[in-house]
């Protein structure tokens, strides 16, 4: 079993839909959780950064962490064609003192159709 699992997609939705992207993980020590967006042939850019469990909202984006289930989600409301990209989850633990133990999911490719 991989440390972080993520459905690769592609996921196609109509414009305006609510999108749910998910990652599951196996290491219960993970406490920091991130979502990155990566446009084609570009570097990943940070969307959301959360610590421990709970929800965090930023505009149309909501990140949710359920540590008891080892499951994190990213919700995108009112999705736009400009949201079409690959979404990567990433996570690490407090033992990762230099940031050398970030674990990234393989990414989910999202297409929002106009």
């Amino acid at each position: 079993q991989k440390e972080v699992e993520q459905d690769p997609g592609p996921l196609s939705v109509p414009e305006g839909a609510i999108v749910s992207l998910n990652c599951t993980y196996s290491n219960s020590a993970f406490q920091y959780f991130m979502w990155y967006r990566q446009y084609s042939r570009k570097g990943p850019e940070l969307l959301m950064y959360t610590y421990s469990s709970g929800n965090k909202e930023d505009g149309r984006f909501t990140a949710q962490v359920d540590k008891s289930s080892k499951y994190i989600s990213l919700f995108i409301r009112d999705s736009q064609p400009s949201d079409s990209a690959t979404y990567l989850c990433a996570m690490t633990s407090l033992r990762d003192n230099y940031g050398q133990n970030f674990v990234f999911g393989p990414g989910t490719r999202l297409s929002v159709l106009p």
């Binding site: 042939r41 940070l46 407090l94 003192n97 940031g99």
Partner: protein, 113 residues
Amino acid sequence: DAGITQSPRHKVTETGTPVTLRCHQTENHRYMYWYRQDPGHGLRLIHYSYGVKDTDKGEVSDGYSVSRSKTEDFLLTLESATSSQTSVYFCAISRTGVTDTQYFGPGTRLTVL
């Protein structure tokens, strides 16, 4: 891209030749990282640096070396390139390590023939 540049952006080389990729940051962040990204694997850490002249290996370091002589520059060298090193290489930086996220450069697309 958070004040990070990578050069070259694209490179085609032949098996057995040495290759050096450069990452340059203007953020004065202490921590720097080199990743490779391959389909189905996500981002995998090659080497990282936690200060000038302080570097260590990551998950997939075989065949790679790094150097950091200045805060702003982190070089990745493939001593003798192989076809398995064909990949997209990303540099990332972080201000504090674990309690700060990582910000990525635009990437270098390397093809080894």
